[in-house]
């Protein structure tokens, strides 16, 4: 078999392209301020929650959640469970079917890559996350 035949070269280049497309299609950093909440998700077999600050900031000021609903200003500092949410606490203060959509839409919140630890994405004070900055 002639290793350097045109056919083989084409094969190899096609392989490389396919591989590269597969590997490198995820790129870019997530939206700044997204909070990954993974208190209990991994243990229960659910994807961790990604809370997008930007989406909520357009609609509500900081006070509505951080003073009125009792959310602490610290990632991982709030013991949020699904039982509390359906009972109207924390996220359930709005995500109850009246102000915003309700708990049966699991996927929209639980959309993180499994295993991501609780963190504020893009947090410039924590090592290991933001080498780029």
């Amino acid at each position: 078999m002639n290793r350097l035949s045109i056919r083989n070269i084409k094969l190899v280049s096609l392989m490389t392209v396919a591989l590269l497309i597969g590997i490198f299609s995820t790129s870019g950093s997530a939206e700044y301020g997204d909070v990954v909440i993974n208190n209990y998700s991994d243990a229960e077999g659910m994807r961790p929650v990604i809370f997008p600050h930007w989406f909520h900031r357009i609609r509500y000021r900081c006070k509505t959640c951080h003073a009125d609903l009792g959310f602490k200003l610290k990632s991982g500092g709030n013991d949020i469970t699904m039982a509390k949410i359906i009972d109207g606490q924390y996220c359930g203060g709005c995500h109850n079917g009246e102000i915003a959509w309700a708990v049966e839409n699991c996927d929209i919140c639980h959309s993180g890559i499994p295993g991501t630890p609780t963190q504020v994405h893009g947090d410039t004070s924590k090592p290991a996350i933001n080498k780029k900055r």
Binding site: M1, L11, L14, M15, V17, A18, L19, L20, I21, G22, S25, T26, S27, G28, S29, A30, E31, Y32, G33, V36, R47, I50, P52, W54, F55, I58, R59, Y60, R61, C62, K63, T64, H66, A67, D68, L69, L73, K74, S75, G93, C94, I99, N105, C106, D107, I108, H110, S111, G112, I113, P114, T116, V120, H121, G122, D123, T124, S125, K126, R133
Partner: protein, 210 residues
Amino acid sequence: MKKSYTILLLTMLMGINSFVVKAETSNEASNKGVSNVNSFNRLLKKESKTNPPPMEDGIHDADNPGTALLQAPATAFETLDKSKHGNHINWVSSLDAAKIAPRWDRSDPTIQPIVFDLNIIREVKGSMPNVIYPHKAHTEWLDCSNCHPDIFIPQKGANQISMASIMLGEKCGVCHGTVAFPVTTSTCSLCHTQSKGNVQLPRSQASNSQ
């Protein structure tokens, strides 16, 4: 020959697998706003990687069906004032220009925030300009209890703030660096706004005797 074909098949499957899942579920919205297709890219600059849509942003799981339903930030940010830091949106000016109208109260959209207009000038060591802290911009968003007294004691001389503490996530760093514009070498002048000129500031006797 057979061997190379099977290897090719494998790699293509790997590639296509992730590619197809994204292609199937990606929609117009997730591609809008990242580039203007009609602009002439003479300098062949790479497309901006800021505000990527959830399917491509590195922390959302692209295999999750729910991720495809999420709005891409770029779509929502189209009408807002831009900036070079954090979310790449100037939230304060967008609010002032009424481009967004976030509620102060969950249920009542008419209640307005209690804005307090007081600037605190913190003198800074060395040649860096002094910091001017504007209550006005912050009280448009935050409740007094968010900062006082847990993070800042509302009294002169009661809070020692250094760049180190900010970068460690304390004091101003509780928000700036996590959800508000980050503290990086390009954001210095957003806080350090009052240049000192050639004024020789008085010091205590201890430093005067150096």
